[in-house]
């Protein structure tokens, strides 16, 4: 299979505009003749559903939550980047483009990233117009903060709830279209298969989570905005319901899955407290602006942090990275925390935590200033741990947070199945091997508001659509397969719950394919995962029936998909014999212990083609060319 990225050539500044001009348009009168299915209602999906309906298309929109407003985009705290240069500090579209390509460790497509940087300007304008209450200066103009290691101030924010406010903006735009009758909204409805007819994506099979009814929905195009697959690790900062079922089942129908091993681990999360732990809570990385990260010099030092004297502390980030100190990028901070814990110097009951200490900042700035900057985060910490971070250092540990990999898409955001589009975190497109802070919101909204509405028309206008309905053999076959999977899960009647399997899978992944990976460990994981998967299908216990609300059954299907995805993730990690961004292979590091990329052999996106459960997938490579930002070694020393 030849992967055609359809990436325009010529000067990068005008690629997007020329590409839009060269695409065919659907005339206003014809738009209402096309139905588009939108799965997922987060920043990408909500924005796309609303924008497509505003254009005049018929939109049928699905989410598994009880309302489109619940999507996990809502939990993003920090902010959204835009190259407005409102602060006259040297920012530009080109600089945001440059930072994103470099931050992604040179594993993203330049054309896509440049477009994202351009569109960042429009996103802020759009959100302001919708009434997103961004932080303001006394002038009434928009406030910015610096974020994620960028040297310019380009992050727009709404307190610590930026994701919530941007999502509500998209949700309200979507509700307006629902009220107008342009969007049919089906909440508590989960996509369980993709219907492919004559090689084109023509619909989906869904299960109504309240009644259990399985049915087909047909359309001219299907868009997936269903988020990332971080929950494959069981413990992550994702919402409990976040899952990979939509993208995985599309993958099994022929959509290639790209760079699954590019996962991001966030350094500042609240540590695990016990076996019952159900998820991990992120604390904004802005805390590293004033907090100092350290562990005791001695192994197994169990004294409270305030009683450990200065000369018995190891501020290991400041020691190893004198110029960036506590502000090194996420991947570097996470790996170093793991390293000191592996040495036996981790703190807290489990020994899997490091201190994030505000003592010196409180002394220097006073408690009121710290409270003003981080009050809500300190409160959250106290609520969860029962400890007062103004008095004792916080304990933090890295946690699975975001997935850069996802379904492969071309410049139009179309997957390898014609008519199947993938937007937001669900695709692999813009962040390469590592995402910068405040860039996920930008990409989700960029794809939904501006990219997809401008690219989908070309496909609709240039494709001939046969009339199809739910009685088509492909639809009936997909429905049958969904029913069969449900039946198997319910009839296994084994001994262990779905959660217990999911937790065990997560532990394998975290151990062998987490912050640091090596070939030996990955081979162990690749032996253990299929074994556990087979045991799951023999022994899982799902009570109840398929014809009612059944939360265990919902989880069971998602975990079945996670098993298959986990195997691909480890295989991809094993095949990529280099370290880059979030993918750190211990065999490939510089003498100083930093990630060593291998541009000669691995400057490509790895796109995998499904061959069957337990069968080795086929690897296709999309070579990456860097015409503007020349690959260099990232250094934060």
């Amino acid at each position: 299979m030849e992967l055609n990225s359809k990436s325009p050539t010529g000067p990068i500044e005008t690629r997007w505009e020329r590409h839009c001009f060269n695409g065919k348009l659907v005339s206003p009168a014809n738009k209402r003749k096309h139905t588009i299915i939108m799965v997922g209602t987060g920043l990408a999906g909500g924005a796309a559903a609303a924008s497509l309906a505003e254009l005049g298309y018929n939109v049928k929109c699905f989410c598994f939550q009880d309302s489109p407003r619940r999507a996990h985009s809502i939990a993003a705290q920090g902010g959204i980047n835009a190259a407005k240069n409102y602060h006259n500090d040297g920012d530009s579209v080109y600089r945001l483009f440059y930072d994103t390509v470099k931050g992604g460790d040179f594993r993203a497509r330049e054309s896509n990233v440049y477009r994202l940087a351009q569109i960042s300007l429009n996103i802020i304008d759009q959100c302001v117009s919708q009434g997103v209450p961004f932080a303001r200066e006394y002038s009434g103009y928009l406030d910015n903060r610096s974020f994620g290691g960028a040297q310019v101030s380009r992050t727009f924010y709404a307190r610590g709830q930026t994701g919530q406010q941007l999502l509500l903006g998209a949700y309200q735009a979507l509700e307006r279209q629902i009220g107008n009758g342009a969007v049919t909204m089906l909440p508590r409805t989960e996509m369980l298969d993709l219907i492919v007819i004559d090689g084109k994506a023509r619909g989906i099979v869904t299960r109504n989570l309240v009644t259990g009814k399985v049915e087909s929905h047909l359309a001219d195009a299907v868009v997936l905005g269903t988020g990332g697959y971080g929950n494959v690790y069981y413990l992550s900062t994702n919402a409990k319901g976040s899952n990979a079922t939509a993208i995985w089942r599309a993958h099994k129908r022929g959509a290639l899955f790209a760079n699954p091993c590019f996962t991001q681990i966030h350094p500042t999360c609240i540590p695990v407290s016990g076996e019952y732990q159900s998820k991990l809570t992120l604390m904004s990385e802005s805390l590293r602006n004033d907090g100092r990260v350290w562990v005791p010099l001695k192994k197994g030092d169990k004294r409270p942090p305030s009683q450990i004297p200065e000369n018995e502390r190891d501020y290991y980030l400041e020691r190893k990275y004198p110029s960036f100190g506590n502000l090194v990028p996420r991947d570097v901070a996470s790996r170093n925390a793991k390293q000191v814990c592996d040495e036996g110097r981790g703190v807290g009951e489990t020994g899997l935590a490091v201190f994030l200490d505000f003592r010196d900042s409180i002394e220097r700035l006073g408690q009121p200033v710290i409270k003003e900057r981080y009050g809500n985060l300190f409160d959250m910490y106290e609520r969860i741990t029962g400890e007062d971070p103004y008095k004792e250092a916080m304990r933090i540990f890295p946690a699975m947070h975001y997935t850069m990999g996802g379904l492969w898409v071309d410049y139009n955001l179309m997957s390898t199945i014609p008519g199947l589009y993938v937007i937001g975190e669900a695709n692999f497109s813009d962040h390469g091997a590592n995402r910068l802070g405040a860039s996920a919101l930008m990409q989700g909204l960029g794809d939904g508001y501006f990219v997809l509405p401008n690219t989908i028309g070309d496909y609709l206008a240039s494709t001939k659509f046969e009339k199809v309905d739910g009685s088509h053999p492909a639809a009936l076959d997909a429905e049958r397969q969904v029913a069969e999977t449900t039946r198997r899960l319910l009839e296994t009647k084994g001994t262990r719950s779905v959660d217990s399997y999911h937790r065990e899978l997560g532990k394998i992944l975290w151990e062998y394919c987490g912050m640091a990976r090596n070939a030996t460990g990955l081979k162990v994981a690749l032996a253990k995962i299929p074994e556990l998967r087979e045991q799951y299908w023999r022994d899982v216990k799902v009570l109840g029936t398929g014809e009612e609300l059944n939360q265990s059954l919902e989880k069971a299907g998602r975990v079945a998909d996670f098993f298959e995805l986990a195997e691909l993730l480890c295989l991809d990690a094993l095949e990529r014999n280099e370290s880059c961004g979030g993918h750190f292979r211990e065999e490939y590091q510089t003498p100083e212990g930093e990630a060593a990329r291998d541009d000669e052999h691995y400057s490509y996106a790895a796109a995998w083609e499904f061959q069957g459960v337990g069968k080795r997938p086929v690897l296709h490579k999309e070579p990456l060319a860097f015409e503007y930002v020349h690959p260099s070694q990232r250094s934060y020393k």
């Binding site: 809502i74 304008d125 009434g131 303001r136 309200q172 307006r176 407290s273 016990g274 019952y276 009612e548």
Partner: protein
């Protein structure tokens, strides 16, 4: 510690439902409330009993999915806290807790502790937005917003749509929810053109959904996990009355 739970069990909308007693002998005080329910459910599955259905998603207190009555208090006893952010250290050994779903005619029970809050979405669809179609926006800084207005607007916009206000109100009124959106948008210059229409349409829809009227009791404010103030209701009433009388702001 030992916790005794009395949980509302209702198989589906047609089932009359009843309270069922469960005993958890080993609750760790570091657990969140929902993690305690996870443990109960694992236990129930082990005994081949139907696990308790409850809504939850982000478990960070922001998505608004979770919530139930705990001893008659929406989201439990801790102020400004959603159920998922409530930890068991706030209870003591031997406590008996009564868990019930939100009770309101406009929020029909789906199963156990889960209710249908679709009425909230329909109130937003009626007018809880600014009609700014994608692509039509001027530069972000073309519309200055006084800092204080932005802050007040943000206070109201913090609503997570969980429904605790309705569940706690003796009238099952959605005034705090509706008022929060009207205040969020009405405090911003961008929200002015549609302000009158918005208040009329949203209030009418709330009535249509059979939420009760507000009689200024204030239980909603007391249990709101995001501490939305009663002022938003005053603002809603003012906008509604002015719009009803003059048709404009």
């Amino acid at each position: 510690m030992r916790i005794i739970l009395h949980i509302w069990r209702q198989r589906n909308a047609g089932d009359p439902g009843r309270m069922v007693r469960y005993e958890l002998p080993n609750v760790n005080q570091e657990m969140s409330f929902l993690e305690m329910l996870d443990v109960l459910n694992e236990d129930l599955i082990g005994r081949n009993e139907d696990p308790v259905a409850f809504d939850h998603d982000c478990r960070e207190g922001i998505c608004g999915t979770c919530g139930c009555m705990v001893n008659g208090m929406a989201h439990g006893p801790l102020p400004g806290t959603t159920l998922c952010q409530l930890h068991m250290r706030h209870f003591k050994d031997g406590d008996e807790l009564y868990l019930e779903p939100w009770r309101a005619k406009a929020f029909p029970v789906i199963k156990d502790l889960m209710v249908d809050r679709g009425a909230f979405d329909r109130i937003i669809a009626a007018g809880g937005y600014i009609s700014a179609a994608t692509g039509s926006a001027p530069d972000g800084n073309a519309i200055p917003v006084p800092k204080e207005d932005a802050e007040n607007s943000m206070d109201a916009a913090a609503c997570i749509g969980c429904g605790a206000c309705v569940a706690m109100c003796p009238n099952a009124s959605a005034a705090l929810f509706t008022g929060a959106k009207i205040a969020h948008l009405g405090l911003l210059p961008q929200g002015q053109p549609e302000r009158a229409r918005r208040a009329m349409a949203m209030v009418a829809q709330a009535k249509e959904e059979i939420f009760g009227s507000c009689s200024n009791i204030g239980e909603c404010e007391a249990v709101c996990p995001k501490e939305i103030k009663l002022e938003v209701i005053a603002r809603m009433n003012r906008d509604f009355i002015q719009a009803s009388l003059t048709g404009r702001m």
